[in-house]
């Protein structure tokens, strides 16, 4: 602690911080541009000028930049000082000399950091009389729009994209007042984190291109706190709507999860919500049916048959539970294959053993050694890859301690550590983006990777620190693991390999035996894989068998395309064997094509729900807006109604659902305590408004339909109102729909929601983690060992290959893949083998082939993946048309018919 004096007030503040973050945390209105809490200080923009004084008596003082000046005990400083404040205003005037006067037509307008800072400094009138310099803009792909003339050269974009996220293709060019931020040549931005540029850039240079197509000012959006649906990490997001379409996703800060940044799948995946093939109305055997007729049809169906329910790893706990309740515990199945279910079950056993720690992303950033076994986080859990990038800097950064370079001094830190990196070991079948940071990479068959893991566990057990052992690669890695203070092992289900999981576990356990607590992070397939697995239902294989045996004639499928989990022909047969199939989903997809009844399900933006992420964290997303069509309803609501119909209520007697989360907790003990993660009520006895107080056009926006203002939608169930009315306080973090504070219209208003700038959000009252809660599931003590999978093709003479599923950030995940922008970025379906294999089969890269998997044939394009083992081929996981496959899978090349 240090005591500092700001404009005659005294404060006790933390040491080790810079004066800008300190002043902001204390509530001072101090403008800045180049500083960013996650990117630290470089002192470039010169906007945060304050005055510091030698002592109490010094009246002249000197101007310094607050972001690069450390807190020191007894310091006297002034924010209000006339010279400092004149300089701040002058600095804005300089920045505005070349900034265009296009606020009215700029996407950033109204949520613009530059606008806020300009107003804050009081610069209002223009004295610069000369022409402005202009630049050409670049095409940067479908995600990010570029408008260089608005640039104020704060360098944040390159510092985020290149320094923080490891991007290679965005940089700063030229010098003096010609500096240009963009790519060497026009083209699609390569980083998976490019969308953050829109939030990091304080002006409208980089903006969200998908928002561009249906642009709405921030103040005109109806917004709700939400949770990303596109991978298992559960990043916190803000979703905004206008005119019945979802318009944008922005980052919602969570100190332990996503911090300040999202991946591009998470930011742009939302477009499926507005997709033209959204299911709009209930459909019974090809006919649109509604109202009473629908209910009588459903009543007939539900009371006359034995139904089973198929749950979904991408649907909320509430929806899955509603289905379970509808069909009964015994008839509820996980809508995933047996391998996937078993993998998840095994992971739950591991997490419940109480032996290992499941790290948050924040903890991952603090790891001082990372071992990735059988995953490529950049594609399967992208935001985690960004955290791993930060972790790799951790060890080298510790060396700067002796130089007294403060933690916030970004350039000096980077300069001092240069290219040194902390230990990162990657074992994955193909090369990955993180390989460039790795101290060691192993590309091979999953079983070989697993064997490497077991050997490593063995080496750890053998006490490699004893000097009788010769150093070998394994011993070196084992030694590094033992020396690390916060080692982290990342694994997961992507390769659909038990051996991989067991190997990761063996390493963690070996470390444990040496009294080292390693964290073990599991990457799971979907946003609610953990939640669904927790419901302990049987997988698809069991479902099919029992359907046959028990004379099941109807299946209700919840928000799930089963063809992404299981063999297409078997599914076809299964559906054939049923009389009726009810499918609830958002979009037409192969499973809905089998349905006799489809019910339009609200997306995450049109309803609320709860998910369990890969670390067991329970989080809720909230409805953003009412689906404009009354036929579109939340799945949990449909299912509750079906339940009521089934138990004999007539349509007019249907009653609203009870809070399902409470019921879930009551009926399944493993969910006890769930629901405490977010308050279920508003603020100060009022609802929390989803619309900012400047929301405009409310009386006019529907005037072309009716001149009277329609009654606003009512929200009985959530703590939110659908309008701008309600409490204007600071809602607790899980219920924060947007960031705003007087004078801070841009996302930088977030500062005001944090206890200290860059730190935890104020008012977080409880975190619920299912994994951390004491468990009754006993941990099986079986010792791991590679059980060589039968399918490895040792003898590379055939046309049959063992297939390796390669997950891709764009395309492998179902819902985001429907988006316009993201679908443009998905790879074309490929068939990758190594060069020797290719020449053995006389296949040139780029050639089209046909691959038979099971009984299906897929057209694919040949690629060379030099690191692939003989007998193995990589194909993109679940990128259409490559669905309908039961994994593990083999594929046989079939001669192309001319």
């Amino acid at each position: 602690m240090a005591q500092i004096h700001i404009d005659k007030e005294s404060y006790d503040v933390k040491n080790g911080k810079n004066l800008l973050e300190t002043c902001l945390s204390l509530g001072y209105q101090l403008p800045y541009f180049c500083w960013h809490p996650a990117l630290n200080s470089v002192g470039a923009c010169r906007q945060c000028a304050i005055k510091v004084f030698k002592d109490e008596k010094d009246t002249r003082g000197r101007i310094v930049m607050a972001c690069v000046e450390p807190v020191s005990d007894g310091l006297h400083l002034s924010v209000a000082d006339p010279e400092a404040s004149a300089f701040r205003s002058q600095n804005i005037e300089w920045l505005m000399t070349n900034h265009p006067h296009d606020c009215a037509v700029c996407d950033e307008g109204g949520s613009c950091h530059l606008q806020d800072m300009t107003v804050m400094t009081g610069h209002a009138y223009r004295r610069f009389q000369y022409p402005k310099r202009t630049h050409h803009n670049q095409y940067l792909g479908p995600l990010v729009h570029h408008e260089m003339n608005r640039c104020i050269q704060c360098y944040r974009c390159v510092r985020f994209y290149k320094d923080y996220a490891g991007g290679k293709d965005l940089d700063v060019f030229a010098a003096h007042d010609h500096v240009y931020f963009g790519r060497a040549k026009e083209g699609i931005l390569e980083s998976e984190f490019s969308g953050n540029l829109a939030e990091v850039c304080p002006t409208g240079v980089f903006t969200d291109k998908t928002l561009h197509t249906h642009y709405t000012r921030k103040w005109d959006l109806t917004m709700a706190p939400s949770v990303c649906q596109h991978c298992s990490l559960g990043c916190n997001i803000i979703a905004g709507e206008r005119y019945g379409s979802l318009r944008s996703i922005t980052n919602r800060y969570h100190e332990a999860v996503n911090g300040y940044f999202l991946c591009d799948r998470g930011r742009y995946g939302y477009e499926f919500v507005n997709h033209p093939s959204r299911i709009q109305h209930p459909n019974v055997r090809g006919r649109q049916v509604s109202g009473k007729e629908l209910y009588t049809t459903l009543q007939d169906l539900l009371t006359s048959k034995n139904w089973i329910g198929v749950g979904s790893p991408r649907a909320s706990l509430e929806a899955n539970f509603a289905l379970r309740k509808l069909v009964g515990d015994q008839n509820f199945y996980q809508g995933v294959s047996k391998v996937e279910a078993d993998l998840l079950q095994r992971i739950l056993h591991m997490t419940h053993s109480g032996q290992i720690h499941q790290p948050s992303l924040q903890e991952i950033e603090q790891a001082d050694l990372v071992l990735i076994l059988g995953e490529d986080p950049t594609h399967s859990a992208p935001r985690m890859a960004l955290s791993i990038r930060q972790a790799v800097r951790n060890i080298p950064l510790q060396q700067t301690a002796s130089t007294h370079i403060p933690a916030w001094h970004d350039v000096a830190q980077r300069e001092y550590i240069q290219d040194t990196k902390g230990p990162l070991y990657i074992a994955y079948p193909v090369a990955s983006k993180l390989d460039e940071l790795a101290s060691y990479t192993l590309h091979d068959h999953p079983d070989v990777l697993a064997a490497f893991g077991f050997d490593l566990a063995q080496a750890i057990g053998d006490d490699p620190l004893g000097d009788q052992n010769e150093p070998t690669l394994l011993r070196n890695i084992a030694e590094a693991l033992l020396k690390a203070e916060r080692p982290l092992i990342v694994t997961g289900t992507s390769l659909i390999s038990h051996n991989i999981l067991e190997a990761a576990w063996a390493i963690a356990m070996a470390l444990k035996h040496q009294n080292k607590n390693a964290s073990l992070s599991f990457i799971l397939p979907s946003c609610n894989s953990a939640g669904l697995a927790y419901m302990e239902a049987e997988p698809l294989e069991v479902l099919m068998k029992s359907a046959k045996q028990n004379g099941i004639s109807g299946a209700i499928v919840l928000e799930n395309d089963l063809y992404r989990h299981y063999d297409a022909l078997e599914l076809d047969q299964f559906f054939e064997s049923l009389e009726d199939i009810i499918v609830l989903d958002h979009l037409e997809q192969p499973t809905t094509a089998q349905a006799t009844v489809t019910l339009p399900a609200a997306t995450f933006a049109e309803t609320s729900g709860t998910l369990v992420n890969n670390e067991g964290r329970v989080q809720s997303f909230y409805q953003v807006y009412m689906p404009k069509n009354e036929d579109i309803r939340p799945s949990w609501q449909w299912l509750t109604e079906l339940y009521q119909i089934k138990i004999g209520l007539t349509p007019d007697l249907l009653y609203p659902s009870t809070p399902l989360l409470e019921e879930l907790a009551a009926s399944l003990p493993q969910f006890a305590g769930i629901g405490a993660h977010a308050p279920t009520f508003g603020l100060n006895g009022q609802k929390i408004p989803r619309e900012p107080h400047r929301y405009s056009g409310r009386t006019a926006m529907l005037a072309h339909i009716a001149v009277s203002e329609p009654r606003p939608d009512q929200d009985e169930l959530s703590p939110f109102s659908f309008t701008m009315e309600g409490s204007r306080g600071f809602p607790p973090p899980p219920l924060t729909p947007y960031y705003w504070s007087p004078g801070w219209n841009s996302n930088q208003a977030l500062n005001k929601y944090q206890i200290e700038v860059g730190g935890a959000l104020a008012g977080r009252h409880a975190e619920v983690n299912l994994f951390a809660m004491a468990s009754t599931i006993p941990y099986p003590t079986k010792k791991g060992g590679v059980n060589q999978s039968q399918s490895v093709i040792q003898n590379a003479t055939t046309h049959t290959f063992e297939l390796l599923p390669i997950t891709h950030i764009f395309g492998s995940e179902e819902l985001s893949g429907y988006g316009d922008a993201i679908s443009k970025l998905a790879p074309a379906p490929y068939f990758a083998i190594n060069k020797q294999e290719a020449s053995r089969l006389s296949l040139q890269p780029g050639v089209d082939i046909h691959l038979r998997i099971g009984k299906q044939t897929y057209p694919l394009t040949v690629q060379i993946g030099q690191e692939l083992p003989a007998g193995c081929a990589a194909i993109p996981y679940n990128i259409p048309p490559l669905t309908g496959i039961t994994w593990p899978a083999q594929g046989t090349l079939i001669p192309t018919t001319p």
């Binding site: 470089v42 002192g43 470039a44 923009c45 010169r46 906007q47 000028a49 000197r62 101007i63 310094v64 690069v68 004149a86 300089f87 002058q90 600095n91 300089w94 920045l95 000399t97 070349n98 004295r127 610069f128 009389q129 000369y130 104020i152 050269q153 360098y155 700063v172 030229a174 010098a175 003096h176 007042d177 010609h178 500096v179 130089t403 007294h404 370079i405 001094h409 350039v411 000096a412 300069e415 001092y416 550590i417 240069q418």
Partner: protein, 422 residues
């Protein structure tokens, strides 16, 4: 009058090669230095009060003393700053073209004093002849075992590389120079940490001006007292003074520090050319304040020039005559500075082009009285501490003094709506 730096420099004869240099006592200082403890050399240079000749005038020995001397510290670097791009400055060129071995010897001693094993000369691109001569001299020094091999009983050895730049004045700023040497954009770095702690590639590094380093062998050979006695003033040693502009014999001379300005202009530069009158001069390169007629008597040492409101800077003077428009003169300077801003910090990147544009419009007869106010504000707002490095504050020095001494000339441009000199 002793002229240690230039005694063996004769523009009409080729530079001394190694053998000739050794014959006149070259590398004897190095031999002596190697018998001394590194720290003692640093102390000696500090005691001699050798002030940095690159412009800032910081005590060189003191600068070296900040380098960590822990034997396990790893690689350290010594760099000779031979970027010399400050307009009006051409002194280091003489030293490198005239006697390259003197610089190399100075570098080896300096590197030994801080126990650096790798050194660089950062030379500006335009100095083709200097580059050629330095290459030769470095090769000779390698052959003779002064470089690249352990020397004598100390086991100390140094590598020396020549790096030529590819333009940009900012490369002369020592931290920007480090970035340039690392193959990066030459934007300056934030201090602290100073290069002595984290410099080239994050290692302890000393950057010294060529002239500074050339003084080192002489101090080691002759001692601090001798060095102090060379000067006419409180500042020790000699200085290379240069004069350019409309004087009869522009050139460069090694004179005792503190030589009076009129003596330099009259006795050495031969006075003004016929038909031209002296109006003022930038005493130490483009980024120093004007001195005018009233200052002609002052001694050109660090303190006296400072008390006259300017800086000794590089000691190379640019003269403004009465037939050159002071507004045009300053515009030319600000054009240079605006072009050479690295683009890193806002005030410099945006403020300098604005001043340049105003000066251009005044020069073209389109200026207003409010423009003068804006210029004046810039001279304050682009001052030290407000910008990231010293480039913009340096750029404001000639402007602020021009606004003071030549205000009527600015005003007459505005009132006559044209340049009176055109």
């Amino acid at each position: 009058m002793e002229k240690p730096l230039t005694q063996y420099i004769n523009p009409n004869r080729p530079a001394l090669h190694l053998k000739e240099y050794e014959r006149v006592g070259g590398y004897s200082a190095l031999r002596k230095a190697l018998t001394m403890a590194p720290k003692d050399i640093t102390n000696m240079v500090q005691e001699a009060d050798l002030k940095g000749r690159g412009g800032a005038g910081f005590n060189t020995g003191m600068k070296w003393s900040f380098v960590p001397m822990d034997p396990d510290i790893g690689t350290k670097y010594l760099i000779a700053n031979a970027d010399e791009m400050e307009p009006g400055t051409f002194k280091d060129r003489l030293l490198m073209e005239g006697n390259p071995h003197q610089l190399i010897e100075g570098m080896i001693i300096a590197a030994y004093a801080i126990q650096a094993n790798v050194s660089f000369i950062f030379l500006r691109w335009a100095y083709k002849k200097a580059a050629r001569l330095l290459e030769q001299a470095i090769a000779e020094a390698y052959d003779a075992g002064y470089l690249g091999r352990p020397m004598g009983s100390t086991g100390y050895q140094l590598h020396l590389h020549l790096h030529t730049g590819v333009g940009r004045y900012i490369c002369g700023e020592e931290t920007a120079l480090l970035n340039a040497l690392e193959g990066k954009r030459a934007t300056p770095r934030l201090k602290p940490p100073f290069p002595q702690i984290s410099g080239l590639f994050g290692r302890p590094t000393i950057v010294n001006n060529v002239e500074t380093l050339c003084n080192v062998p002489h101090i080691v050979n002759n001692g601090p007292d001798w060095f102090k006695a060379l000067s006419n003033s409180g500042d020790a040693g000699t200085k290379l003074y240069g004069v350019s502009g409309r004087v009869k014999t522009p050139g460069i001379w090694e004179l005792p520090l503190g030589t009076p300005m009129d003596q330099l202009l009259e006795d050495h530069a031969g006075g003004m050319q016929d038909g031209y009158r002296f109006r003022g001069a930038l005493p130490g390169g483009a980024s120093t304040d004007f001195l005018v007629t009233e200052h002609l008597k002052i001694n050109l040492d660090y303190k006296s020039v400072a008390s006259a409101g300017s800086r000794l800077g590089t000691g190379t003077m640019v003269v403004l005559d009465d037939r050159t428009c002071p507004v045009g003169f300053v515009h030319n300077l600000e054009h240079f500075f605006a072009q050479e801003s690295c683009g890193w910090c806002s005030p410099c990147r945006e403020g300098l082009p604005w001043t340049e544009k105003i000066l251009r419009s005044i020069e073209d007869g389109r200026g207003t009285i409010q423009d003068l106010e804006i210029l004046e504000q810039h001279t304050i707002q682009l001052g030290p501490g407000r910008t990231f490095c010293a480039l913009a504050p340096g750029a404001m020095e000639p402007l602020q003094s021009a606004l003071k001494y030549f205000r009527e000339d600015f005003e007459s441009h505005i009132s006559q709506k044209k340049c009176p000199w055109r």
